[in-house]
Symmetry: C2
Subunit: 410 residues, 2 copies
């Protein structure tokens, strides 16, 4: 059973009843992304501390009282969520943080945070008896949709831009998705998918359109809070593409605050690559979002026209947070720092969060005595080509001890 | 506190006290691999059903009473184990199994089952105050060692054969390991590592030498049993390289039987590629293990001279199980079948287990009414090159709806 009151348009604030099956606001069209409104009073009596103490489900459905979709038999799905939160002592020593935590989303079933949204989409599609689910994606949303849908026996049509890395492409194809590579940018792939979804009536898993997906993504924030025993960090840093993930992170903490489980929302640090930073540009110039180039190796956040600007901007603003852009070179360096000091191999978009936090600390945006949590959004194995650029080189030798002695020393 | 009685040589059966710090039998040399003997009477009073009901640790250290190494503060390590066990209904429909389960080891921190052994090695090395850990590996053992050691701040020297896939290599380097690529086969890499470990006094993480590592690997069996509510399947299928993993699987079930928690040990199906099948050859020809070529795409099990033959052969024999070899082509087909029907993307060595089980069913080795569990040993993202060979092709189109209509239909 779900505890939704209804939907509210993020643009015109119109409210809609729960029994109207909507994705976007009928008045504002595709840009009128909806927010799901919960009945927190009812949830309060369910999601208590003793509920958590006794709950044996370690997947994201552990938080089902604050979710908008009911999955039915959970064992039919991939097990999403329940990812580890690591206290990263070595990074404190190196970077000067007081306390820093890494949320490793790369150990989700298809190796990214996007599994949280895709699992919700698949559960909703099952409830609606959809035959096909579709989305456009820079990679992670697509592979997570393909994997989660395959598990439940549902077909997928996935639109990806040309630059999708091999690792992500191989996942899609192994999961049996029909993969359409659109010769063009992410925006071309997105527009093709929207047209196709409309024409053929497929279930729409585009996160910026479908309001349920943010409700899946937000479980990462609920988990962080619970893993920190409901004492949330001062900051949470997350890289931003379309804007849905950071919106989800905000919503998760917002829910917990409404429920009286936490006493404040962490400040959110939105991180982008300086090769593709429409949010940061708008923040710095105090103007509306303008389309930018998509010129970054962090493919998961290479989004020149973000599809969920309203929710993302509000999330950072309401949390009292900030925006920052970092260079691709520094993202790769952060990837190596995280891997070699904490044993966590994350994709460029994950490393961007760490790099953003380090630079925010240097700039005084993050204060030296503040605690921070980094969301490592996906597994580095998804994009080994970029990793190999910064990783260093192996040493090649013949099977001969004398060669080895030259390298190691006597 | 650990509940070890002592060590027993797998060759000459000599017994050694727990306070002798041994890796192999002093009488038999390097081939005298030791078995760790537990005090099951003492463990019985600890590892009860109520212990499991109240234990909140979902990592492999949940089973610490039957492990030979004590990690100290667990939060300092990567979170290893606690991987999902999926009931795979679609595979039953396709392959004719009565009931089949998939243990997805690819969601471990460095994306393979080997994390279980490496975590134990690192904990032991910490206890022994070692400065450097070393191993030779076809890939997974190496990357798991590098990641688990990085997390704890310990240096690693890793010897790999030339054919190591890019995904595994990128992991090693990102984790900051000193990587020595030995121009030659796995056996060349292994021999170089043994010489170097001896010369420089490094901690030895070669699984076939260090008896503690099987004790980490066995936790996969303990988890499977617990996840099935202690009603174990008739068969467990696992691919075999050196032989340590299947030995660990046996040991895990053996422990549970000694503790009276389960009532029988599942039959073990040892699966190899027909391009590198020393165990299967020995089984079929009823003779000793002979070195073979290492001619398979399943790099994790491409081991021409297995280093742990005694434990592996005994494991299969004592369980009443069997051996089977499958072709690389069929391994890749099984990879696609598993991915597209269950949403699990496993590496070739993981898919080999599934292919072996299917062929064993066709041959009548596995009976139609028997239940089976497949161990998917590692994540498919580690080796996307091979995956792309079988995965199928994406469809490339211009951003033009007319092109799409040609593909999807009206």
């Amino acid at each position: 059973m779900v505890y939704i009151k209804g939907y509210e348009c993020t643009i015109c604030n119109s409210q809609y009843e729960v029994n109207e099956k909507l994705h976007t606001c009928p008045k504002c069209g595709e840009k009128g992304i909806l927010e799901i409104i919960y009945d927190y009073q009812k949830i309060k009596s369910k999601m208590t501390k003793s509920y958590f103490a006794n709950c044996t489900d370690n997947s994201m459905w552990r938080y089902h009282y604050t979710m908008s979709v009911e999955p039915g038999l959970r064992s039919k799905y991939l097990r999403v969520g329940g990812t580890p939160l690591y206290k990263a002592k070595h990074l404190c020593d190196i970077m000067g943080f007081k306390k820093i935590y890494i949320k490793d989303e790369g150990v989700n079933p298809t190796a990214s945070l996007k599994d949280r949204a895709s699992a919700v989409a698949v559960a909703d599609a099952v409830a609606l008896k959809a035959a096909i689910i579709s989305c456009s994606s820079t990679g992670n949303a697509a592979s997570s949709l393909a994997g989660n849908a395959a598990r439940i026996g549902m077909n997928t049509v996935i639109f990806v831009p040309e630059r999708t890395p091999e690792g992500k492409l191989s996942q899609l194809l192994i999961f049996g998705a029909k993969v359409i590579v659109v010769k063009g940018s992410y925006r071309d792939a997105f527009e093709m998918s929207q047209k196709a979804i409309k024409k053929w009536g497929w279930y729409n898993r585009n996160a910026a359109i479908n309001p349920h997906l943010v409700e899946g993504k937000k479980t990462v924030a609920l988990e962080i809070a619970e893993q920190m025993d409901w004492k949330v960090p001062d900051w949470v840093a997350v890289s931003v593409g379309d804007g849905c993930t950071i919106a989800g992170v905000y919503k998760g903490f917002h829910d917990l605050l409404q429920l009286g489980i936490i006493d404040r929302i962490p400040k959110l640090l939105g991180v982008q690559s300086d090769g593709c930073s429409p949010f940061v540009n708008a923040y710095v110039k105090k103007q509306k979002i303008e389309p930018t180039e998509e010129n970054t190796i962090a493919d998961s956040i290479s989004v020149g026209i973000p599809r969920n600007p309203v929710k993302a901007i509000r999330a950072v603003e309401k949390s009292g947070g900030s925006w920052i852009a970092v260079s691709d070179h520094n993202i790769l360096k952060a990837m190596k720092t995280l891997g070699s000091n904490e044993g966590i191999f994350t994709e460029p978009a994950g490393a961007a969060s760490l790099e953003g936090a380090e630079e925010a600390l240097k700039l005084g945006i993050i204060k030296p005595d503040e605690t921070i949590c980094i969301i490592a959004t996906g597994n580095g194995l998804k994009d080994t080509k970029n990793a190999l650029e910064i990783a260093g080189k192996p040493i090649y030798i013949e099977p001969d001890m004398n060669e080895l002695i030259k390298i190691i020393g006597k």
